[in-house]
């Protein structure tokens, strides 16, 4: 291939950038990133001033254990979510079997169940007094716990299982979008050249879907590192537990910020390694939209297998917890039914929707600026803007308070000096602070998926549009957005549901007399009144389901199938 053609494939020619419009794009991206990265830098700043050097004590005592638990947890959750997410995505995209259309959206349902909720549901089921062991004792005539062995759910393995069951939809979503976007002829060509179906899957299909799957996996890993509810409940001491211990018990916020920084570095290294290993790959799925996707026609036995692959995660990750929560909800209905529900639900819905919209807009701005101006600097901005996701929510919340309160106090002082008027706290302690925190935290979700989707659109599209006199902004609206529809919907959905479930940051930032569904659940759960929180938990799950169904339907329609 000659150099000129190569250049064309890399990126739009640089003369496009000489236009003022493109420069404005890049400038806006820079400013937005600065704003979004503020809380993260606030945490790094806090890390510079610890109350006390915690490291000697940590290294001599618990650090090795925190590290090994964290690694094992990450490894376990990665494997489990990859296996479930990729296999289900492939099956519902490419195989013809009864119930396929139902599973297409139903497989997303576990995503609506917060990890801390599923953890407590299974603990209740599998603990000694729970249904399972009670039944076993009755059946075998055992007296008490010393008569038999039963795996302890409150363990590292238990935590892996719980998180895997609710986090796999990240991978499922992104892998499925990637499988749907790739050209069906690729598979056919590989088969006609004599590769087996399985071989084709591993050598052709997966490598093409890899960028999307990698984004999904990095989201899963960040969520895993972030989780405090589950590991706390299961008494699995990870780095996150150490972080909270340093903050809450030793009163050393700076030390906690240092641990958060270490975790952040950790995630960055992982993501960078993955990208580095893909550095020589360039792919454009020049998909012909008229080309229908031919699903595999399978034997009855194989159809049964497909059914099993899809049923298990749905059953364990959603149906069981929903049924148990439903049972608690009826059992404690009188105690937990209050008038606050509508209000809390509305609060959750409003904040989550606002955050979904703002992450989408900012994510699009960043991903598209990078397309217009793909330089190392721009790539660095992309990375910086998604750092918030790799920070535990509670720490990030403090990072949000720092700049907002500083601004408020500065502004208040100015107003007093100039107009003798007290503006008080304008931003901190308001709903704005929560939406801002959600945006900072979940921007990685939308920016990451939009970026990988944009990379798949061949630059010749841009060039055709631009050479016909369409400016960058209009090209985005008229050419790219229609092609990105599925990804946009997916990203909005993921962010929305994530915000519905978000707990630690919401707790710290919310205004007076203001509850979301998650904080409402937490009030009970934090006081060892788990069963009483059944009803509000169920409402979180149900509230998460509706958008899941609505949006996944429209994703399904974004490609014509036969």
């Amino acid at each position: 291939m000659n150099q000129a053609v190569k250049d064309l494939q890399q990126q739009p020619p640089s003369h496009i950038l000489r236009s003022g419009a493109a420069r404005r794009w890049v400038l806006s991206a820079g400013l937005t990133t600065a704003l979004v990265a503020l809380p993260v830098f606030a945490v790094l700043y806090l890390a510079l001033f610890p109350e006390d050097n915690i490291w000697p004590h940590l290294i001599n005592t618990t650090l090795p254990l925190y590290l090994s638990n964290t690694f094992q947890l990450m490894l376990g959750v990665s494997l489990l979510t990859l296996v479930i997410g990729v296999s289900t995505a492939w099956v519902v995209t490419m195989c013809q079997f009864p119930g396929r259309r139902f599973f297409e959206w139903a497989l997303l349902l576990p995503f609506a169940v917060p990890a801390y909720v599923i953890a407590y549901v299974y603990t209740d089921l599998l603990d000694y007094p729970g249904l399972v062991q009670s039944w076993m004792r009755d059946a075998f005539g055992w007296e008490n716990a010393s008569n038999y062995w039963f795996p302890n759910i409150r363990s590292l393995g238990g935590a892996v299982l719980m998180m895997g069951l609710v986090l796999y939809p990240y991978i499922y979503l992104l892998a499925r979008a990637a499988f749907m976007e790739q050209s069906p002829s690729l598979f056919a060509v590989s088969r006609s050249l004599g590769r087996s179906a399985l071989g084709t899957f591993f050598r052709v299909v997966l490598p093409i879907a890899r960028p999307a799957i990698a984004v999904g996996l990095s989201l899963v890993l960040m969520e895993t590192l972030n989780d405090f509810g589950t590991v706390d409940f299961f008494a699995v001491n990870t780095l996150t537990a150490g972080l909270f211990d340093t903050w809450m018990n030793l009163g050393n916020l700076g030390g906690a910020a240092q641990i958060a920084t270490v975790m952040l570095a950790f995630v960055l290294i992982l993501v960078t390694l993955e990208r580095y290993s893909r550095r020589r790959q360039q792919q454009f799925a020049a998909r012909d939209l008229r080309e229908p996707l031919q699903r595999f026609r399978l034997s009855r036995g194989r159809q049964g297998l497909c059914l099993l692959v899809c049923t298990l995660p749905l059953l364990l990750g959603f149906l069981v917890p929903a049924l148990v929560l439903g049972y608690y909800a009826t059992e404690y209905f009188a105690e937990s039914w209050t008038d606050d529900f509508v209000e809390n639900s509305l609060n959750s819905l409003t904040l989550s929707s606002l955050a979904a919209v703002s992450t989408l807009i900012i994510g699009l701005l960043l991903a598209y600026s990078r397309r217009l101006h793909d330089t190392p600097g721009m790539r660095l901005l992309m990375r910086l803007s998604s750092l918030g996701y790799a920070m535990p929510g509670a720490v990030l919340a403090v990072g949000v308070i720092v700049p907002l309160a500083a601004f408020d106090n500065w502004f208040d002082l100015r107003m007093q000096n100039w107009f003798d008027w007290n503006s008080g706290l304008l931003l901190s302690g308001t709903a704005f602070a929560i939406v801002f925190a959600y945006t900072v935290r979940f921007l990685a979700v939308s920016a990451g998926s939009l970026e990988s989707a944009l990379q798949k659109i061949t630059p010749s599209m841009d060039m055709a549009s631009r050479s016909l006199g369409m400016p960058a902004g209009r090209t985005l609206l008229r050419v790219h957005l229609p092609m990105l529809r599925g990804t946009l919907i997916t990203a909005a959905l993921v962010v929305f549901v994530d915000c519905m479930k978000e707990l630690p940051a919401t707790l710290i930032l919310r205004p007076f007399n203001f509850e979301t569904l998650a904080t409402y659940v937490y009030q009970y759960a934090s006081d060892e009144m788990l069963r009483q929180s059944g009803l509000p938990s169920l409402v979180i799950v149900l509230a998460g389901i509706v958008p899941v169904i609505l949006m996944s339907r429209s994703i399904g329609q974004s490609r014509e199938f036969q």
């Binding site: 618990t62 919340a397 309160a405 408020d408 704005f432 060892e528």
Partner: protein, 339 residues
Amino acid sequence: MSIRTAVIALATVACTAGSLQANAAGEVNIYSYRQPYLLEPLLEAFTRETGIETNVVFARAGLAERLEREGRNSPADVVMTVDISRLSELVGGNLTAAVETDTLTGDIPENLRHPEGKWYGLTTRARLIFVSKERVEPGAISTYEDLADPRWEGRICTRSGKHPYNVALFASMIAHHGEREAETWLAGLKNNLARRPQGGDRDQIMAISEGVCDVAIGNSYYYGKMLEDENQLPAAESVNLVFPNAEGRGTHVNVSGMALTQSAPNRDNAIKLMEYLTTPEAQSIYAKVNYEYPANPDVPPSEAVASWGYLNPDSLSLNEIAANREAAVKMVDRVNYDN
């Protein structure tokens, strides 16, 4: 132009959010580490009596940081907590204001408040030992020190050693015995654990009824709450309560408490609320709702709580316990208590 839209959207959010802000007029703002449902009956009664509206934010972490960052503009008037550690942290960060009125100092005994009035205890809870009715002879265990006796090897359950309730207990052991002896004791206790520390205080009582262990440590009020819950009643009925060291220095107690903030915009109302919470009426409601002991010595505990046995509280000042907290946390790490 998407950027402009984004800016406008965010600005709109900011403005609507800004209008949600509390205005100082006949109200009092509370940052609470305590569940709202425990406070609600009291706050309602307070509003009925005084006409002052109450606003609450509840969280388990981060409120102190929020208070600090909000600085002199913070809307919070009163902070309520469930543990001495949080209170001493607030004092340490210079976030609480000294307040002393005849009512406050008259109602709350000296060992349950800050010497300058930077925090006040409202209720106390005793850290008890629960033993199996079936498998432990009455009188076989009577002190915290007994928990390290090798005869209990593999028979004790506790929640995480890092939990504030355990940290405070271990800090009191350091105060009474010195750090070295306390660490030997803690290592002995760890050696007697039947399983890795997990769950909450109720789970330890459940574990006794399951035959996992014979002895557990837990706060007094959890027992009361378990008697209320038909699912947990059988477990609660399978244990006897021990008030440790009742014959000696007394049983370790922790407080739930309150403090006035430095920045309080509604200072007068805040002090009214604090004074109200120490009155006999409020004290008995507060203690009854959560099966705790009133901090006001003139107010008897509820009948249910009194029926569990007589509490002779350790007179060790809570300020002393707060001073030993960090040493206790590090001790927990050194004996590798949680793993």
